[in-house]
């Protein structure tokens, strides 16, 4: 009864921060070594900036969901928890990009994200959770898909950790939606 248990947990859980300080510290430590190899670092910065764009979008997606008045209390609490994770990812990525000499990509307006994500089509809590699940799955796969491109293996490891967070979010959202788990193994990243 894993799915039902997960769903109850999702609806009843309250927010607690998890990742931010440790992630920032770890990413900051990685950056110092990477600075020595500027060409490789430049490529890694470009990838990190794409990741930062993803995090900006995720934060705003959860903001749109939280502000929609479509989420019940339990779902809202977890949406805000997941948003806090994405804010921690964002902060860690910005700190790393800056330490590597790069310029972090800027966040767009909430209206821009609303248009890009089709937020005007969200009519129910299920719609919001399905959008969130879709974005989390895409983000998990995106992080897994850039791992081979990193020149710095420690940054690749961080991408794996970020993917794990997104996968955890996706799994909880699938449970909340009472949707099936993947039938086959190795369904993430390919």
């Amino acid at each position: 009864m894993l799915i039902q248990a997960t769903r109850r947990h999702f609806m009843g859980h309250s927010a607690t921060g998890v990742l931010s300080i440790a992630a920032v510290g770890l990413l900051s430590g990685v950056a110092t070594g990477a600075q020595a190899q500027s060409m490789d670092a430049s490529k890694d910065v470009a990838i990190l900036n794409v990741a930062l764009g993803l995090e900006h979008e995720a934060i705003n997606a959860y903001q749109l969901g939280a502000g929609s008045n479509l989420l019940q209390k339990g779902a809202l609490d977890v949406a805000l928890l997941f948003q806090s994770h994405h804010k921690a990812h964002r902060d860690a990525l910005i700190a790393t990009i800056e330490k590597m000499g790069g310029k972090p990509v800027m966040e767009k307006s909430l209206a821009d994200y609303a248009k890009a994500l089709g937020a005007d089509g969200l009519k129910s809590q299920t719609d919001v959770l399905m959008l969130a699940a879709k974005l989390e799955l895409g983000a998990a796969n995106a992080y897994l898909g850039v791992i081979p491109a990193f020149k710095d293996a420690k940054l690749a490891q961080i991408a794996g950790r970020l993917a794990s967070d997104e996968t955890m979010h996706w799994t909880a959202l699938r449970g909340a939606l009472a949707q099936a788990l993947p039938v086959g193994a190795l369904s993430f990243g390919a």
């Binding site: 009864m1 894993l2 799915i3 490529k43 470009a46 990838i47 900036n49 794409v50 764009g53 993803l54 979008e57 248009k115 890009a116 994500l117 089709g118 879709k134 974005l135 799955l137 895409g138 983000a139 998990a140 796969n141 995106a142 992080y143 898909g145 850039v146 081979p148 491109a149 009472a178 949707q179 099936a180 788990l181 993947p182 039938v183 086959g184 190795l186 369904s187 390919a190």
Partner: protein, 130 residues
């Protein structure tokens, strides 16, 4: 020994699967709809109709690389389109998704899709988009 139960497919999902069977492709051990695979693998950054972290994919077939007007491409991809004439086809997309940096050094995507079966399904889907 813990046991895991998978929720049964809903009636709506079964109807959807039946109606869209023609669009399904065999990927590994699972049958996955091409649009679902696209959402899973590309949907973190892209959508069909809107520019997001990556540019929109509508009208991608034979499109010049770096040519969506409002999107902020890397200089490398802009040059690949305007100076080198790179256009998106089954051949160039295969090279792009296998190793984007090998095709366009200095590009910003970084993402690669290692599974050749999945690349085929996604390339066919991308090239079918109006």
């Amino acid at each position: 020994m813990p046991t895991f139960q998978v929720a049964p497919m809903s009636t709506k999902a079964r109807q959807y699967a039946a109606l869209t069977f023609a669009a399904f492709s065999l990927v590994g051990h699972a049958v996955v709809a091409a649009n679902e695979l696209y959402e899973a693998r590309c949907g973190g950054c892209h959508s069909v109709a809107q520019d997001r972290v990556g540019p929109r994919h509508s009208g991608l077939a034979n499109r010049l690389a770096g040519s969506v007007k409002e999107f902020g491409y890397s200089q490398a991809l802009l040059n690949a389109g305007t100076k080198d004439g790179l256009r998106w086809s089954a051949v160039t997309l295969e090279r792009w998704l296998t190793n984007p940096e090998a095709l366009v050094p200095g590009q910003a995507m970084g993402y690669s899709l290692a599974n050749p079966q999945e690349r085929k399904v996604i390339i066919d889907y991308l090239l079918s988009l109006p």
